[in-house]
């Protein structure tokens, strides 16, 4: 037999790889929601499909294609441009929910990128996790807390499809939306938590103050008055009129150094301090003004 035999380790490995792909096959779907080549998606539950936000160009008239060749309509249930994820609701069709990996992905582990951009069958490429990084910041204030980079080939239409581990469990969601041509994936723990919020609210709430800032060194005299080892803060270079920041009394020239008692050294810490749970609530913003630390209370708005 020239096909795989049982007492051959390499053949056993090959068979196990096929089984991993087969396990995720049924929960990898085709997502037809744009003009050009369809992309891919993952069945998050019986009636919800998780995919990449950038492949969803329309909110209705979306078609989902399944492993058995059948197709069903879907409509947008929620989207989060910041993490490039969108959730679609199936109409009159039930999907096989995907099984997620419970452990975080590690550098060097085997992964497969899967996609179903056509109804011809599952497509796959092999690689390893090359890097685990984040946060990654974009224009418009978007920030991806964590991402996986792999060396698996991102074939056209793989966006929204699963990155699976050697056992066929979902390790991440493929995306090319942030850096076309690169193999990036949103880690499953982050993707699943975004999906859960999208399922409930249809969007991800993020806090908004109405300021523009740049990181600066805190003058040494002010540093000693701060009473902690913090060398950088955010210099406010503009404050939007009528914004929450203006109403709370923040001024151009203030150096923002903390929120609710935690230090804020840079943009990432600021973004991290303004999660959806802060929207509508007062927060204590610590600034250095005229060399002196002082506290300002601002009610957080919601970023549209």
């Amino acid at each position: 037999m020239a096909n795989n035999s049982e007492n051959n380790l390499l053949a056993s490995l090959s068979d196990a790889m096929v089984r991993a792909v087969e396990k995720a096959d049924a929960s990898t779907v085709m997502v037809n929601a744009r003009r050009r080549l369809p992309a891919s998606g993952i069945s998050y539950s019986n009636d919800l499909i998780l995919t990449a936000n950038h492949v969803v160009e329309r909110e209705d008239d979306i078609t989902i294609g399944f492993a058995d060749g059948s197709q069903a309509p879907a409509r947008l249930a929620g989207r989060d441009p910041s993490s490039d994820l969108a959730l679609l609701r199936l109409e009159g069709h039930s999907a096989v929910p995907a099984e997620r990996a419970l452990a975080d992905a590690r550098i060097g582990q085997f992964v497969f990128a899967l996609g179903r951009p056509t109804l011809e069958g599952i497509q796959a490429s092999l690689g390893v996790v090359s890097a685990v990084g984040g946060p990654l910041r974009f224009e418009r204030g978007g920030v991806l807390e964590k991402y996986l980079q792999t060396d698996a080939i991102p074939y056209p239409g793989f966006s929204g499809g699963p990155l699976i581990d050697a056992d066929g469990r979902i390790a991440g969601v493929n995306t090319s939306g942030f850096a076309p041509g690169n193999s990036l994936a949103i880690p499953v723990s982050l993707a699943w938590s975004v999906a859960e919020t999208l399922k409930q609210y249809g969007k991800i709430k993020r806090g908004y103050l109405g300021i523009r800032s740049q990181p600066v060194e805190i003058p040494s005299a002010a540093q000693s008055r701060l009473g902690r080892a913090q060398t950088t803060g955010l210099l406010l270079i503009s404050v939007e009129s009528d914004s929450q920041a203006a109403q709370g009394g923040l001024m151009v020239g203030d150096i923002l150094v903390g929120i609710n008692g935690s230090p804020v050294e840079d943009h990432d810490r600021l973004m991290g301090s303004l999660g959806g749970e802060t929207v509508g609530k007062p927060i204590a913003i610590e600034v250095i003004r005229g060399g002196e630390p002082r506290s300002v209370t601002v009610t957080v708005g919601e970023r549209s």
Binding site: N3, N8, L13, S14, E120, I122, S125, L126
Partner: protein, 219 residues
């Protein structure tokens, strides 16, 4: 520490097994020179001098072209062009030699997405180069006259000079003939069952069945 030792044994074992398997595959890999500037890879289809390669490797020299087949051990033979099929980009050559280390031909009908594959060829003229990957898709391509043919797609890196060489499975069985030009896609192989049909039909037509014709059956 114990776990690390076990893992190193496993990877070392896998590596050694891969090495042995590819050594055998390399013996059935040949160079095909078309008498002009072109060169590619080819496969010793059986022990009696039948060599399979891509049609585009053969070039336009017609039946009388000055073609050569060079074995892994360096022996060079003049090659006779027996048949060509432009649709599936295959050509069959014959050299005057017996007892050759022929390739193991697998039945590509049983292949599955995700399985390990290895491509062996002469990319950019470098001899006997191995690249590894998986079977990425079972797809199809349209020929110039619109006929649909099944193809195998792989994420193993292929380059000019891989053409005509084998895509093998984990035990060294040929599942495809590496071919880059169909549909303009990279990493495309013609399934070995199409190649086997082509060889069988050619032999039936020319009534030149060799004593080892039973080797054409799928293994």
């Amino acid at each position: 520490v114990e776990i690390a030792a076990e893992q190193s044994t496993l990877t070392a074992y896998l590596s050694a097994e891969t090495d042995r398997m590819l050594e055998r595959v390399r013996k059935s890999l040949v160079q095909v020179r078309n008498g002009h500037h072109g060169a590619g890879a080819g496969i010793l289809w059986d022990a009696d001098g039948w060599v399979l390669t891509n049609n585009h490797v053969i070039g336009h020299g017609g039946r009388g072209g000055n073609r050569k087949v060079i074995l892994e051990n360096g022996l060079t033979y003049p090659a006779q062009l027996i048949a060509q099929d432009e649709d599936i980009d295959l050509a069959l050559l014959r050299i005057d030699a017996r007892g050759l280390p022929s390739a193991l031909i697998a039945d590509a009908r049983g292949v599955k997405v995700g399985q390990l594959v290895f491509a062996v060829g002469h990319p950019w003229g470098q001899l006997g180069v191995v690249t590894a990957g998986i079977l990425s898709a079972l797809s199809s391509a349209k020929t110039r006259d619109g006929k649909e043919i099944p193809i195998l797609r792989t994420d193993a890196t292929l380059a000019p000079g891989n053409s005509g060489g084998p895509l093998v499975n984990a035990v060294g069985g040929v599942i495809g003939i590496d071919t880059m030009i169909v549909g303009g896609d990279q990493g495309v192989a013609i399934p070995s069952y199409l190649a086997a049909n082509f060889v069988r039909e050619t032999r039936e037509k020319s009534k030149m069945a060799s004593p080892s014709a039973q080797r054409e059956g799928y293994l």
